[in-house]
């Protein structure tokens, strides 16, 4: 006997998931896309507005050049071809948070096309690539608030006119986890090139998914549905799974999947069809007559490309090549560019890459997590940490003492050497001093000492422990071992 759920997952195994994603990203400009209003998040409602973004009669849009720069940066980072001439278009629909009754977007001549994003490596070693169909510029709508005031809806137009890029992928992903990887890679790239806050909670990154199912081996695409209303990457993955299972069950019953919009309900963990008015509109696109064609010169495009920082994929490849680190470690260290920079500066001063990596991934990230701060403001500079690692390498402090020293460095910002001597954490390596502690331990534990001296070598560990304890952890355990070995009997 099988449960319903088992049947569903069996069904799912007979089908392949096909996913394409549409990602909207707010560009980090100072002013809006077509007027001079601030884009800052969290201002009082309708404060960041003017006649243009309120769509007062007679106003006209003027394109923000900074938005174009950021969009072209993103396009280049995603290896898109940037069109020298692209066109703005009006996407017409009525909604109270869309002041003009149309959104200025791009339609049949987008800013950039034909990009790609590497999301991993296939089993044969070749890169797993998701194609980027297009990247275009558009403006954000305002926000409607339906649950704040009884009986009425409120409109906040602070967000209206904030510049966005929409990044549309090819249907190249084959599982929910591939979709998740694509999104995390995409977010990482956008963070690296500093074009957006890419914060899903604040809405600076939003994802809609197109998903279809087909029997394994089938090459034609099945009918897709669009899934909306996800507010986290894991939500996207769960929504895709849910919608995929729904489609598979339908296909298995011989039903046809209808092209429609589904909404993800994160609380109930299910998808449901959007109301009919949220289904597909006729947007009546036509070229925006208020804006001339957007022309960007080839030399300028090339300059923007040359100005891009090292991108995550290149950095990952270089880190594993230069530092001989494991893929998982490289992944952690290159998660964000400032962390990778920190690591590189650390290695420059303390060339043991493996140790450096372990410290960054361990103590440094733990301290950052605890404080909630960013690596850029981290009080322990790479050179200071390198000095601490030097002390460990040279045996001047123990590994456990180093951790204590590090904690104090984080709090005080003092150099490792100063803390080590102030706190008495320098390791004792002096043979006389160590010898005294050994004598004292032998005197205190005469039975064990006698058995050890008679050749019971396995007691050495216990005795080292006694010595370490007596020294308050300051004895260099290596030296203590040497000393004890010298005194061992049976010899």
């Amino acid at each position: 006997m099988t449960t319903t759920r088992d049947v569903a997952s069996d069904v799912a195994e007979r089908y392949e998931m096909v996913v394409g994603l549409e990602v909207h990203v707010q560009l980090r400009t100072i002013t809006k896309a077509f007027c001079c209003c601030s884009t800052s998040f969290g201002a009082a409602p309708n404060v960041n507005t003017c006649p243009v973004c309120l769509a007062l009669p007679g106003t006209l849009p003027v394109l923000n050049e900074q938005a174009v720069l950021l969009a072209v940066r993103a396009a280049q980072a995603l290896e898109c071809t940037v069109n020298e001439e692209s066109l703005f278009a009006r996407k017409n629909y009525f909604y109270p948070d869309l002041p003009k009754g149309y959104q200025i977007s791009q339609f049949d001549r987008p800013l950039a096309e034909h990009g790609r994003l590497v999301i991993g490596t296939r089993s044969d070693g070749s890169p797993a690539v998701v194609g980027i169909t297009r990247l275009h510029m558009e403006e954000d709508a305002g926000k409607s608030v339906h649950d704040r005031f009884p009986g009425v809806s409120a409109i906040d137009l602070n967000r209206a006119g904030v510049p966005l890029i929409e990044i549309v992928s090819e249907p190249d992903m084959r599982s929910a986890s591939e979709a998740g990887t694509y999104l995390r890679r995409l977010r990482q790239i956008l963070e690296y090139i500093d074009v957006s806050d890419v914060n899903m909670e604040e809405g600076s990154l939003r994802v809609d998914a197109n998903v279809s199912a087909r029997p394994h081996g089938e090459t034609r695409l099945g009918t897709k549905t669009e899934v909306k209303n996800m507010n986290s990457f894991s939500g996207v993955e769960r929504a895709l799974e849910a919608e995929f299972r729904r489609q598979c069950a339908m296909l298995d019953r011989g039903e046809r999947v209808a092209q429609m919009t589904m909404l993800w309900d994160a609380t109930r963990g299910e998808v449901r069809p959007a109301r009919s008015k949220e289904q597909s509109h006729d947007y009546r696109y036509f070229p925006e007559p208020d804006l001339p064609p957007l022309r960007v010169r080839l030399e300028w495009i090339a300059r923007v490309r040359a100005d891009l920082p090292e991108l995550p994929q290149a950095k990952r490849e270089r880190f594993s090549r230069e530092f001989g680190l494991a893929a998982a470690d490289v992944e952690v260290l290159t998660a964000a560019a400032p962390l990778a920079d920190y690591f590189e500066r650390l290695v420059a001063a303390h060339p043991d890459a493996k140790t450096s990596a372990n410290w960054v991934m361990g103590e440094v990230l733990a301290a950052l997590n605890a404080s909630g701060g960013s690596i850029a403001d981290f009080p322990v500079h790479p050179a200071a940490l390198a000095r601490l690692l030097d002390l460990v390498r040279d045996g001047a402090v123990s590994h456990s003492a180093a951790k204590r020293i590090f904690e104090i460095m984080v709090r005080s910002g003092d150099p490792a050497d100063v803390i080590a001597s102030r706190e008495g954490l320098l390791q004792v390596r002096d043979a006389d001093e160590l010898g005294r502690w050994v004598d004292e331990v032998f005197a205190e534990h005469p039975v064990e000492a006698q058995r050890f001296k008679s050749g019971e070598r396995k007691l050495q560990g216990v005795l080292v422990g006694f010595v370490m304890k007596r020294s308050g952890g300051r004895a260099d355990p290596k030296r203590v071992n040497q000393l004890l070995a010298e005194r061992a009997g049976g010899g």
Binding site: L56, P96, P99, R284, F286, P289
Partner: protein, 464 residues
């Protein structure tokens, strides 16, 4: 001769307004005025060390151009009582030049019409014959100039809305090149065709006003950086050497022969002054009206979406959002605006876009190329009738399509983006008839040179 004070000029304008009964019970050409505010502006001009080139000259403004203080309703109920918190670039420029706004003028609702009968505030009347329309959509501005209230007024054009009423009222009306004058503050009807235009009693008034409002504006991305010559200087240029094209498509056999005769008399007068007149052809002219009535409504359907009752203007109650939209818009917009929104929505719909909008844009390119090639052939300006007939009686045109045909000689310039102007060339049964010049893009100077020359050559005949 000393120029009278701004206060004296403005006072005289208001006196004339009352003498000719410019308000709702008379010509109905002026919708909104504020005498005290205008006088305060006039006093401010008089107090300036430099009163500017206009030196306190009063001017009237079409109701679809944003002004501070006075309402900007576009002749529509949906904007009843709406006062703009900012002013149009053209208003700022004229005020800086010493001009004083004395009132907002009646117009067809959202500039959609050719008679000023489609105003929510009642039709305006032609000062030459009060039983007739002043033309439209800028009929109120044309009438205010013709009635002697102001020497100068602003209007707007999408398809002849300055030139045709200028012709009907016997004044001068100019539509500059698309991109020559900022549209910032002009309430959009069809953005790729709209352009602010000017009216003047004589060519000189229109030349000065055009010169003052022309030039690039950072707030209008479609305005163009292009040197603005002193159009007034065109008055000193003789007609000798000017090559005038007479496009045969604008003199069809169906044209009232008396209108054609007045235009040919004007051509003869210019020839007598040394101009050369050539027969030319603009073969795609007949397609202008169908193309215009696809493109203009398409853009209008989008431009007028913002009048939704949410942020400003009239809002009608309704159960739920959809009902609020429907009631607000169906009560706020008049029948002609509704008709064009429906038309425009239709031609932009999925499945019809290619057949209508895209095709219309392709034909629009052919119409523009007609002008490019005729001007490339050595013709400096074109001369045509402005409208097929003089002003018609109020209520005479009940069929919208018949009304649309009024734009047959003017819509081409909007579609091609070239400048055009109308000036009086004579009268038929006491009613003014206008002749039209059109010139290459940004060559308003050639157009003014021709217009000054024709005005000189015709003298008093222009109004006889």
């Amino acid at each position: 001769m000393t120029v009278p004070s701004a206060v004296a000029q403005v006072t005289r304008s208001f006196q004339r307004m009352s003498d000719v009964r410019a308000g709702a019970n008379g010509l109905n050409c002026i919708l909104w005025t504020d005498r005290e505010a205008a006088l305060a502006d006039a006093r401010a001009v008089d107090a300036r060390a430099d009163r500017g080139p206009l030196a306190g000259m009063p001017f009237a403004v079409k109701d679809n151009i944003a002004t501070l203080d006075l309402p900007t309703t576009c002749g529509s109920r949906i904007l009843e009582g709406y006062v703009s918190p900012y002013e149009a670039t053209v208003i700022t420029r004229l005020r800086e030049a010493g001009g004083v706004v004395i009132g907002k003028t009646n117009c067809d609702e959202f500039a959609m019409g050719s008679s000023t009968e489609y105003s929510a505030w009642g039709p305006a009347r032609n000062p030459v014959d009060c039983s007739r329309v002043p033309g439209g959509s800028s009929g109120g501005s044309a009438a205010a100039v013709a009635a002697g209230i102001v020497r100068m007024a602003l209007g707007s054009e999408t398809g002849g809305s300055v030139r045709q009423p200028a012709a009907y009222c016997g004044v001068v009306g100019v539509k500059p090149t698309y991109g020559r004058v900022s549209r910032y503050g002009l309430v959009a009807f069809a953005s790729s065709l709209d352009q602010v235009g000017v009216f003047g009693v004589a060519v000189q008034d229109a030349a000065i006003a055009t010169e003052l409002i022309a030039g690039r504006d950072a707030r209008d991305a479609t305005s163009v950086e292009h040197a603005v010559p002193r159009y007034r200087d065109a008055a000193d240029r003789p007609l000798a050497g000017l090559v005038i094209g007479r496009p045969r498509e604008y003199f069809p056999p169906t044209l009232d022969s008396r209108v054609a005769a007045l235009c040919d008399r004007a051509l003869d007068a210019m020839r007598a002054e040394g101009a050369e007149v050539r027969d030319v052809s603009l073969p795609h002219t007949s397609l202008a009206i169908p193309v215009y009535y696809i493109i203009a409504p398409a853009e209008a359907s989008s431009n007028l979406a913002r009048f939704d009752g949410v942020r400003y203007g009239a809002r009608a109650a309704g159960e739920g959002l959809r009902a609020m939209y429907e009631h607000t818009r169906s009560r706020g917009f008049g029948p002609e605006v509704t008709r064009r929104i429906l038309l425009g929505t239709y031609v932009l719909s999925a499945g019809y876009y290619d057949a209508y909008y895209r095709k219309a844009q392709q034909v629009r390119t052919l119409i523009a190329e007609d002008f490019t090639s005729v001007f490339a052939s050595g013709v400096h300006v074109l001369f045509t009738p402005t409208a097929p007939t003089p002003a018609f009686p109020l209520g005479a045109k009940s069929d919208p399509y018949e009304m649309y045909l009024n734009d047959i000689f003017t819509a081409t310039a909007n579609l091609a983006g070239v400048p055009g102007m109308s000036l009086p060339v004579g009268r038929l049964d006491g009613l003014p008839v206008g002749g039209q010049f059109m010139a290459p893009h940004f060559d308003e100077f050639a157009m003014f040179r021709a217009a000054f020359g024709l005005e000189r050559a015709l003298g008093a005949e222009a109004h006889a």
